[in-house]
Symmetry: C2
Subunit: 719 residues, 2 copies
């Protein structure tokens, strides 16, 4: 039996620290050494017998080409801030308020036809003959006094955003890096040749790690430091646009996109909001383009006998691992940096040969939110262990192939607690990986489907990391689900209408009124409402959280109020009294009260609803029988081990399932995975102190003692 | 000079307590004695030389006629609760869930054509040929499975609602009183004759006090005690409906109203929500009907040499004192029961010869919310004094002609503190009345206009008393305004578009998104937005509170966000960062922090906005210069003396006005009224402890000491 000390671990090597590199590779059981951004590994490391990853960012670091071909740079639509017309003529300087080191106006002949001027008071476009672009200003004629006008325009993005962020944050003084658009024919030829050259110049590299592909997530800087980041969305597509893309789209789809399809009344189309039909078309169009071009790059890499792994971050747009074209690219591996369990599941479930996690914290002096990590005052081992508790429970459900770290290895010097913690995580990871290699752990016969606007395209993640989206109730639910022994699917509204609920036991809709997760206007579709109603009435279960299925124009605020047994008063109930209720003393599952939260205006629609928890006169957790099915409403849900346990027990109750089939711990601070074929029980303690728990298994109950944070692997004799 | 001990006071007499009646009349300086509901004054009282008010409720207490003419009773539209169709046929019992002692289904041949069946899932009516009314049930055919259906139907109201409320609350066992619809020709003939008979039978009555006219405010009871009151709206019109009214409306307006014009997706059309155009037409139609019929009754009363006063409560619907037809009725007096300052102003400003207030508490054992008043444990003097502090400041601005009490006089026995308090209030009232008779108190050259869907029709009140609408920010503002030395107007959106802002200095819009006070879809009108924008840009001032001008579909959530300098994120800002801000240390007026409140999602739209108060990262009180004008945003506003003072100082600051023109106290717990012609200064202390204040007057500053709650009248020597 292995001692689980070696393999499946990627170490960031560091030139100048050859001894340290080899010593840490030994300690952590690395089989791969990678360079970090901008650092080259020294021959001694390269020749030490490890596989070598090398990082490239394909669209960046071509400033000479970009200067020679400024029209090969990437672009975006921007909207000026609204300007008030006091009389009939108005002048607008479009770029006012934007960071002029990031943007440059594109008034080229192919761009100008896409510009628009809008009367935002009336919300109508101004006819082209009523405005002109002259001398750095848009002059609007025939304005209606006291209406506000905006200019939608194309801008070159003259500073690659990740470089811009690092530069402005760390006060770098080096040259601003630019980025090329692979849609530009000359740039595309150039990039392919550059990659061939690179492969030839790096014969020792086994794996080319792409960071990532072409188009960055959207990150728009303002000129004013009081609002430096005007807009940042990890999953919107604005940075893919160009006149060439718009032309190609129109040719293929038979209709033209306008600036307003992107600007969207100045709000842009953020991932958290339901997309328009045109945006869906455009995303598919870009996804195909990205996949086609990425396939060419992967082929080049393969031609040089190397493998192509992609790091899913930064310039990832159009490359969603659950998108329709991802597997066609032919990547050999997917690398995902993780803070959370849902990110592990996102990586582990993608259709690609190798799944690799990059653990946090990175070996950087400063971590999240500017707090010290690997410097005086930092406790990197505590950070690492906190993330590990999230990651471990997801790995217990579905494992990956590799783990690793990033950053500057020399920062580990003197950080023995951290170094030891990572060593232990490696051991547990390898043990879990071995168990999974044998078989999947026992799972409950329960399929949970998360329902939102994006469906499987946004499986597990909303957009970005947990801490970037933690104002959304759904990410907390996804995080809880990532470690539960149930099958989890992500469905779109269209899929539900097409019958996808046939394989579902529990449907979850969780979001805020009008957002992509709740669904907004999708719920105006009576067929959708009827289908979910039928599903529950015939015996299915529904969990609604926050403002589920909230939409204007119906007789209830929640389109599923009749199923949930609660609705939200947004003022429309005005003079309608709510049902009085009393909170039940006993609940059919353990309630994690501190994980719940109050959504304003919730009231019962049915006196038969059981209120399990309330804040004042507002129900916070309710249970409603509907036909043969059941529905739960939660006003809030904040992830914690206890919250995850509440969700598990809720699922067991709703589906009348015996939890011990998959192994069930008694102590809510502990969880387990049961590998029946290997007669191995894995028990995990999420508490910062020792824990004792009974674990119920099909073959009986065992007692387990765990130290703080411990993972126990125990062989179980079955009858 | 008078000692202000006598006159302008209406005492409720009580038979069996003749000595007490005459003794209290003496103590309180009554000149009028009235009977209370259901009690008759004895000859000794009637002959004691006082003027006599007698109360009648014209539509009630005609049970014999109602039984003989059941079709003369009043009606309403109701909607069944939605019922789920599981297959193609559905049966609905329309009255399920309603209080069957209040309602009886009207399936008469003239009513049935107005019934509707709705598919509420699709929000479409079901064609008449697809349903039938049979054997107490509506049977719907061809249902879409898993859609929800409702029946809208007409119901007789077989129990007059005030009687029903008193009956069910106090467990009365007497006969249920019914109510007649004056639109029924025989009922109308009967009622006129009944009034003639009554006048003949009551020769001693000087004033017929009508309580009130024909149609009660809407009060719908449910069968389940957990939601006994399903709906109560002091100002909606549902109880005026009948097939006859609908026929007459169609004849006059050329279009037919349907059940849905009333049912409105089950929500009814509450006063707190913006009315549809059809509802506005219908209200005007009813107002004219009510005024015409009321005029006939008043003429009868006048023909008997009596006066007609109306008590503005209960069956008041269609008789708004600021409605277009009110003065045409010819009432001699308007009586309003008051808890608050805004109610005094409502009464005082109506176009009618005599304005009379009925003070609270009433002489009833139990008061508001079931708490003891005139019984063991009660402190009626404290209640009276608390209301008086609200009422007094309004009387100081605009006085009425009379005050009085209601209820059972014998309850004053042993209540010396209360009896003394009322005596003192009478003295102050008469002194104020005398001052006002000479001239109006000095007023600031500031006109404040409150802007909402109803305009002047709902001057001062939203609907009902303060405690019935205190969840609405506007009633707090109206209450504050009721005692401030400024001109106050109430404007509708239509009036603003017609140029009404020309005489306005400060415009106020205060409400919740989508309600009648904020305005809802009215703000989709670009002309309205442009006009308010122009008004401020050219030098006017705007105060927005809560969710002012909030509407869907624009580039901002608040249609006036550009003017206010703040907007609300309801989720649409998604990935858009807000402006950072720092709260200012010094404000240009005194801030009553505890009166303010936080509206979720408020963010700056302009970095130049001054944040005067914030809760965490949410601005709560802001100031924005816009063109030559200024705008204030308040996240909340809860009435208190300090809040009223903040509003006054805000108005002075916004309009750059010198407050001493109208008299200005330094101590925020005190207020004053300055009567320059009579060289009299009235200073009022709202605190429960003594207060000292400087009072700034045009002629200089004086110092005043006041005892707790005291009113000081001081002669001022001017130069």
């Amino acid at each position: 039996m292995s001692d689980y000390r070696q393999g499946g671990f990627t170490l960031p090597g560091e030139a100048g620290y050859e001894d340290l590199t080899l010593q840490m590779a030994e300690k952590w059981g690395a089989d791969v050494i990678r360079d970090s951004d901008g650092t080259k590994l020294s021959p001694r490391i390269v020749e030490a017998g490890y596989r070598i990853y090398s990082t490239i960012c394909i669209i960046r670091e071509h400033n000479a080409f970009a200067q020679a071909h400024p029209d090969a740079q990437q672009q975006t639509f921007l909207s000026s801030d609204p300007v008030l017309a006091v009389d009939g003529t108005l002048e607008i300087e479009p770029l006012n308020g934007y960071f002029d080191e990031q943007f440059e106006i594109n008034d080229s002949p192919d761009a100008l036809p896409y510009w628009q001027v809008w009367d935002r008071t009336e919300n109508v476009p101004v006819p082209a003959e009523k405005w002109e672009w002259s001398d750095g200003k848009v002059i609007v004629y025939g304005c209606i006094p006291y209406h506000r006008y905006t200019v939608s325009f194309l801008a070159w993005r003259i500073w690659e955003e990740i470089n811009m962020y690092n530069h402005t944050t760390n006060h770098w003084t080096s040259e601003h890096l630019r980025q090329l658009d692979p849609r530009h024919p000359e740039a595309w030829e150039y990039l392919q040749q550059w990659l061939r050259n690179w492969c030839e110049a790096n014969p020792d590299t086994n794996v080319v790690r792409l960071t990532s592909l072409f188009y960055n997530f959207v990150w728009i800087f303002g000129s004013d430091l009081r609002r430096r980041t005007r807009f940042v969305d990890w999953a919107s597509y604005d940075f893919t646009v160009s006149p060439a893309a718009l032309h190609a789209f129109e040719q293929e789809y038979g209709y033209a996109l306008t600036a307003e399809d992107f600007i969207h009344r100045g709000k842009l189309q953020a991932t958290h909001r339901p997309p328009t039909a045109a945006k869906r078309d455009y995303m598919d169009f870009i996804q195909r383009f990205v996949a086609e071009k990425a396939r060419v790059l992967v082929d080049i890499i393969h031609a040089y006998g190397k493998q192509a792994y992609v790091f899913y971050d930064d310039s990832w747009v159009g490359m969603e691992p659950y998108g329709r074209y991802f597997s066609s690219i032919g990547f050999d591996g997917l690398i995902k940096c993780v803070f959370s369990g849902f990110e592990c599941r996102l990586c582990a479930g993608a259709e690609v040969p190798v799944h690799e996690l990059r653990f946090h914290p990175y070996l950087f002096p400063v971590g999240l939110g500017g707090l010290p990590t690997f410097m005086e005052g930092g406790h990197p081992e505590k950070d690492a262990e906190a993330y590990w508790l999230h990651v471990r429970r997801a790995l217990a459900r579905q494992c990956v192939d590799r783990i690793g770290l990033g950053g500057y290895l020399h920062l580990t010097i003197g950080q023995e607690p951290f170094n030891d913690a990572i060593e232990q995580m490696g051991i547990v990871f390898r043990h879990l990986k071995e168990l999974h290699a044998g078989e999947a752990p026992a799972e409950l016969p329960v399929t949970v489907a998360v329902l939102h606007s994006w469906g499987s395209l946004r499986s597990w993640t909303l957009s970005g990391h947990f801490h970037e989206t933690d104002g959304n109730i759904l990410i907390h639910i996804n995080e809880a689900l990532s470690g539960l022994p149930v099958r989890v699917r992500f469905l779109s509204f269209a899929e539900v209408k097409d019958g996808a609920l046939r394989d579902v036991d529990v449907l979850i809709n969780a979001g805020r009124a009008g957002d992509a997760w709740s669904g907004g206007d999708a719920w105006k579709d009576a067929d959708l409402v009827a289908e979910v109603t039928r599903f529950v009435y015939e015996g299915g279960c529904l969990i609604g959280a926050g403002e589920p299925a909230a939409v204007e124009g119906g007789d209830t605020r929640f389109a599923l109020a009749h199923v949930l047994g609660v609705d939200q008063d947004d003022g429309a109930y005005a003079c309608h009294a709510a049902w009085d209720f009393e909170t039940e003393g006993e609940a059919p599952f353990r309630i994690a009260e501190e994980a719940l939260g109050c959504t304003a205006g919730i009231r019962l629609t049915d006196p038969e609803v059981r209120v399990l928890c309330a804040e004042g006169t507002t129900p916070v957790l309710t249970l409603h029988s509907y036909g043969k099915g059941k529905a739960v409403y939660m006003g809030g849900f904040a992830y914690s081990p206890q919250a995850a346990r509440m969700l598990l027990e809720m699922l067991l109750y709703l589906t009348d399932t015996d939890g011990k089939q998959a192994g069930l711990t008694e102590n809510p601070m502990t969880e387990c995975a049961w590998f029946p074929g290997q007669k191995t029980l894995v028990v995990m303690n999420s508490a910062e102190k020792p824990a004792d728990t009974e674990v119920h298994l099909p073959c009986g109950t065992v007692s387990v003692h765990l130290e703080a944070g411990e993972t126990v692997f125990r062989s179980i004799e079955t009858a």
